[in-house]
Symmetry: C2
Subunit: 236 residues, 2 copies
DNA sequence: CCTCTAAGGGTCGAAATGACACTAAGATCG
DNA sequence: CGATCTTAGTGTCATTTCGACCCTTAGAGG
């Protein structure tokens, strides 16, 4: 047993999935542990922090290793360091990230086509999580709490959507995050007044009245994260 | 040079000081470094995380060692871990804390009476900080940003005040944090509507019309910090 | 051509916010 | 004692925001 403290980096990776019943649900990837402690249990993706890598880079790297994707949003969640949270002394710097729904779909389609998907990675709906290793249940709960809070005063919900989207798409993302339905008219007013959206001259057609497509206004979006620069947080 | 990563814990400790011109200003204690790197420069109080101590305990301990006091509020701020933030590889888990103004006054009075104040600790107004070691300037700025944000939707400002206080005291704390004056009438309405205050039947007299004294309603106060329990955050 | 459904805009009352006037009450000074 | 000053605390009112709900628009599909 080592006498020193080791530093790990884990990430709560969230995206939206279209469920069988049609509505959007929050989903996250977990990794099946192959070693003790907690062998054969599911855990958050992560790894040890190396001496030549910053925590946010390590989070982005392990995220890419488990999903093959780059996140649309990545932010530090919390540093967990209770003495008894692991048999050996581990401080985990935990990040949370958002993935675009279409990125995830394209990636899983590529996995199906090539025939070799990562075997010990599986996606779970946040409403139906398995038993998790360590204190990872608490961590996931905290990440969801943070997401629900942050969606109210910032533009994080765009992190789930492709570059162009309708207001209905955006509202659906909000509803999945908050777990309640929102009035379409009031939602439109609020989000238009926030100035975070840039209307395009294109429309999505194919059913009923065509809906205008919007883009995200990245200029405004960078203002609400305080004095910590882009080296500590990333938005794409 | 060591090849491993060491974990430090530092704390931004804030309190209010009554300035010569009469208004309240934010103040924090800094420690003069005696060793390289950054010898003879001022730095945030802190120390190495030991293998048998949790980060929040380490923050409370180093806080007590530098000020002799227990904080009224203590919360994790951020984990800083950029590769180049120190000559050796150090991850700093930084906390921020609030001290009661009267606790600090009593402690410094005790230091004056006994004649032995801690020599390498000095208090600085946040508007007149010296050059700081490491990335501590950025850390202090982030802590102040967090305080200013949090004062808007939670009761943290009470952390500066004694158990009983007038609405003018509380408003003065808000004004010092936000850096702007607030309308007394509207401030009263808001804070009364929040339900965070319990009126007592006592008044502060001595000048003009007596002002009612209030206490903080600790029952309501514990709700706004998410699923992280009191083992990670403390309010007194 | 009629109908269905979602997009998008308008209305209206409730609630919150901000500016500011007004009353209450002790301190101080003549 | 009484006038006045200063701060505590209340009231008012216009503006803005929020939520609920209705109405019109426009393409899809019979």
């Amino acid at each position: 047993m080592t006498r020193s403290i080791r530093v790990a980096v884990s990430t709560v990776i969230l995206t939206l999935r279209r469920s069988e019943s049609g509505e959007a649900v929050l989903t996250l990837p977990l990794v099946l542990r192959t070693r003790e402690p907690f062998a054969d249990q599911w855990a958050l993706p992560g790894g040890w922090l190396t001496v030549d890598e910053s925590p946010v880079d390590a989070a982005a790297r392990t995220l890419a290793e488990t999903t093959g994707l780059a996140p649309s949003y990545l932010e530090q969640l919390y540093a967990f360091g209770a003495v008894d949270r692991s048999p050996t002394r581990v401080v985990s710097i935990v990040y949370w990230a958002l993935l675009r729904q279409d990125d995830v779909d394209a990636q899983s389609a590529a996995h199906l086509a090539s025939g070799h998907a990562p075997e010990n990675v599986r996606w779970f709906d946040v409403g139906a999580l398995p038993e998790l290793a360590f204190d990872h249940v608490k961590i996931v709960e905290y990440a969801l709490w943070r997401l629900r809070n942050k969606v109210g005063y910032s533009g994080v919900a765009h992190g789930f959507l492709p570059a162009e989207f309708t207001l209905a798409d955006l509202r659906e993302a909000y509803e999945a995050i908050l777990g309640k339905t929102l009035d379409p008219a009031n939602f439109r007013r609020q989000v238009e007044a926030s100035g975070n959206l840039l209307p395009t001259d294109r429309f999505r057609t194919g059913s009923h009245r065509p809906a205008r497509l919007y883009r995200y206004n990245t200029d405004v979006a960078l203002a609400d994260r305080g004095p910590l620069g882009p080296e500590e947080t990333s938005i794409r």
